[in-house]
Symmetry: C2
Subunit: 143 residues, 2 copies
């Protein structure tokens, strides 16, 4: 690879690293005030995106072991943020949902990120929003 191009790509890697770190910083700060961590946010986030999703689906989404999910999930249940109820179609399956309290916290956490992205894309324009999204999709694609 050409030297100059390599340096351009290095800048891109640096940007990706710092952007992601900055992006999670403010939610992390809020989470800390509640005595919980980033995993908890992820759990809340994905339940919010698909109310009623099963434990197995959540495991697959987060790519962690059942045992790793267990502790934070139990905490969230005990703290009254999420509820877990047997599915009607199969009573072995537990459907996960946010409580009102959980919805409130999830909103508080994710709104920081949504607002930030909204402001940036409002300035950048719809077309550039689409560009950014397409690039992120391509990164995910050929996993």
């Amino acid at each position: 690879m050409e030297k100059n191009r390599e340096e351009q790509l290095n800048e891109i890697l640096v940007l990706f690293y710092f952007a992601y770190r900055t992006f999670t910083k403010e939610p992390d700060r809020i989470l800390e005030q509640h005595g919980i961590q980033r995993v908890h946010h992820r759990i809340l986030f994905f339940i919010a995106r698909k109310p009623g999703l099963s434990v197995n689906e959540l495991l697959a989404t987060l790519e962690v072991s059942k045992q790793a999910l267990h502790a934070p999930m139990r905490q969230l249940i005990e703290m009254g943020y999420i509820k877990s109820e047997p599915a009607e179609y199969d009573r072995r399956v537990r459907e996960l949902r946010l409580t009102e309290k959980g919805e409130k916290l999830e909103k508080q956490l994710s709104n920081v990120q949504r607002k930030k992205m909204d402001a940036i894309f409002k300035e950048a324009g719809v077309k550039n929003e689409e560009v950014w999204k397409e690039i992120m999709k391509k990164i995910i694609e050929n996993e």
Copy 2:
């Protein structure tokens, strides 16, 4: 916030999460073969970007404690990937540099990411590369 807009923003958050995770997956796999972790990659990466940077600079860049950096850094030194030598201008300061072996490993790890981004941007075009970068910069900016 309008409901539809909120859903668009949710997709953006999802993309960010999965893109970053995918992005680090392949280097993580290589690291594992060497019996080291993502921190080690970060250390190698930032030393490669600025040969001769000091321990303090590295600490500030990675935002970890001196003690947290210590173990992985010592490992890298013992494994012969990096060297740490007193700076001429101030012999208290240690200047960190990659050895040849370290350069090779750093290239192996980061090339996965550089090549991926290069391929994507080759397809997307220079203008869209600039768009993506500008957006990532804005995310970092108002930290």
